[in-house]
Subunit: 427 residues, 2 copies
């Protein structure tokens, strides 16, 4: 059977990984795909730069890949939600070429429009690499778990954040020092904001939620908080209370619609996600009737990402055709976005208070009025008249009640710093 011909756009870490994998495992890939998969054209900004892979194929402008007769599939690993990556994917789909991409920003912002384009032109659009790297979670949700009504998806989807939080956990050191170390080691970018402010996790979550809940990607409705505000104290208190802190993407459905959020959370030590450490990613989900499942693996890097890209290529080589989000876009229903205020969770609240009689009574009085009930409480040391740390863990309460309680608590004269509120997620 004739080879599947790839136009590779982008030769950064991922592009080089794809080229290296097609070379290294070429024979095995051809056996599994039913035919060889070859790169026939490459587009990269800087042809002259020394790269780890040798590609004896035409180097062209990215814009030209979509029009080439010797390209069946465009692999887009340039990145960015706008500009050249978007134009290339659109043009390829318009010419009926398949597109495989690792570009989560593009899909988070334009996933539904691109899927509509793919469906109109009967072209494949596949993006396993965009979420959780080498973990085949999108295929699992689309195919292996397709009979289930999924009710909840929780992911550790950003290796940089998980590396930083794990290192803080293990060393007891503060955020800034660990971030600097992660940057030195290449686990965090020079400008790390995309990762540590939770935007990357939110991109991935919105794609995963679309597949899991059959609702078009709705990135705009994800509420996003990053990990900058997590202190060494929070990590230590959480541990004392039986939790670790992870940056989670959470999507869940209820009567009020679909709730999507990204934030640091306390995870019980015996929960599956608690032991996912370092640069590893994981996705935990609950489905009816399958119950609880967890998938864990490497979420980034050349090898794992290339594994996902080439698995998509193998499916295309086999003739697999499917709607990009499993259900045709026209048949999807946009679930209403459930406001963050309506969720029910337990909370961790750390306060800096002047150690004086009546403080605890003031705090618990506010909780009583807002109908939030306290499950446990930790205070270290006693220094009459001086500021001390007071940590409370609540039973499940409604977010809006908790927020109004925290607002009232922050206004107390004896509370000397802005309270630290972190949600608890059982996953």
């Amino acid at each position: 059977m004739s080879a599947l011909r790839i136009g590779l756009a982008g030769l950064g870490t991922v592009g080089q990984g794809v080229a290296a994998l097609l070379e290294a495992n070429g024979e095995l890939i051809a056996r599994r795909a039913g035919r060889p998969i070859h790169i026939t054209a490459v587009a990269a900004r800087d042809k002259g730069r020394q790269r780890g892979v040798k590609l004896d194929v035409p180097w062209v402008d990215a814009g030209a890949l979509a029009a080439r007769d010797d390209v069946d599939v465009v692999v887009e690993v340039i990145g960015g939600s706008e500009g050249i990556a978007k134009t290339l994917c659109e043009n390829a789909l318009k010419s009926g070429k398949a597109v495989v991409t690792a570009n989560k920003a593009l899909l988070a912002h334009h996933g539904a429009a691109l899927a509509a384009l793919a469906e109109k032109h009967q072209a494949s659009l596949a993006f396993e690499a965009a979420v959780a790297g080498g973990i085949p979670i999108l295929q699992a949700v689309q195919d292996g778990l397709a009979a289930n009504r999924i009710t909840r998806v929780v992911g550790i989807l950003n290796g940089t954040c998980n590396y930083i939080l794990t290192a803080m956990q293990e060393s007891g050191r503060p955020f800034e020092g660990v971030l600097a170390e992660a940057q030195e080691k290449g686990y965090a970018e020079a400008d790390p904001s995309f990762d540590i402010d939770g935007v990357d996790t939110a991109h991935k979550l919105s794609i995963l939620a679309s597949l899991a809940f059959g609702s078009p990607v709705n990135f705009a409705s994800v509420s996003v908080e990053g990990i900058r505000r997590i202190s060494a104290e929070d990590i230590a208190f959480a541990r004392e209370l039986g939790y670790v802190i992870k940056l989670l993407g959470v999507a869940e459905t209820g009567k009020e619609g679909l709730q999507q959020r990204v934030h640091p959370a306390l995870v019980p030590l015996d929960a599956p996600l608690a032991s996912v450490n370092g640069v590893f990613n994981a996705v935990y989900l609950e489905g009816d009737p399958v119950g609880k499942q967890m998938f864990e693996g490497r979420g980034a890097g050349a090898g794992p990402t290339a594994s996902a890209v080439v698995s998509d290529l193998i499916r295309i080589a086999r003739g697999h055709v499917a709607a990009p989000f499993a259900i045709p876009i026209a048949q999807m229903q946009q679930l209403p976005a459930m406001p963050l205020g309506r969720i029910q969770r337990g909370y961790y609240l750390r306060l800096k208070v002047i150690d004086q009689p009546g403080v605890l009574a003031d705090v618990t009085d506010i909780f009583r009025k807002t109908q939030v009930s306290v499950k446990s409480l930790v205070q270290h040391g006693r220094r009459a008249g001086e500021p001390v740390q007071l940590v409370l863990v609540t039973h499940e309460a409604r977010e809006e009640a908790m927020q109004s309680a925290v607002k009232a608590i922050a206004a107390l004269a004896s509370v000397t710093e802005s309270p630290q509120l972190i949600r608890i997620e059982e996953a």
Copy 2:
């Protein structure tokens, strides 16, 4: 689009689960499959028995399902490697009907022949439910990880054994009592030998290994040991040394071929599989370039098994056609079976010895001669002239060297009981 018509053979726990799921999630399944999936005929031994599901369709002999014009897919959930289940699957495939089965015994013994039959008649044969219940591990290996050279697969594949070992771990109680309790609770069969002697795990391992390594199912070459010999003492010593004991199915490739084995093993406490408890199943694997991955979920029961069966039906409804073992049987190469004696592992060895001078020197002398090196050693209490427990953990050694060392040690006069040898698996 016209409905996909199912002939359901078997109405035990799994058959009822499939019927209930097609009913409960029917609308969602039709949306994801692109068309409705309906049961149009049922074969079950005892029509009269009260069952949890109402099926207003013809009840026929299992033998007749394969010939019915109103059946597109036969779902075989009768069980057993021979007899009616085998004949039904063969006849269905011969008439060009698709077969979906949860029958691991059938596939372990006749998987390659059935796949050849399916390929000859261009019929689908799917069996996601046969391995690890609701975890979509077969699809992951076939599709999502298809670009990888998989080098090692380790699974906790039997919920009964994992329940028993977890309960022994948590309670400190011996095997027999925990087994009896598991039987009372319905987690173990009245005749539990298939599960606790490792046969069920071996069936599943041979199917998983075939897909992972592209070699026809070779159940006969799996070496199998069960968990009957694991004592409360072993569990306690293992814990003290930083391990838990799990029944594992292990398949790995090396220069000498494919090695498949089922046995209880010590797993380090911080390894991914160590925290998979109770009736949960999990599969850990290593692939190049994806690295380490783990999948965890419910491995048995009506819901998880039905989830897997119906996911196969959805793929068939979508028109997905593939070789049952990803690569056409004719193109598979039977990898040579690597003998168990050639593996390299660490070992746990528990000895009952008379507490007298020179015993340890005798044991370590044997190790020196067989080139096995000791990593750690535990002895509890001292009772001169009385039998005491001595536990040694070795560095990696070749199995045949270890076996000959154990044979020599067993022959020592001061060793009063048959030594207990358990492999260590890092997974």
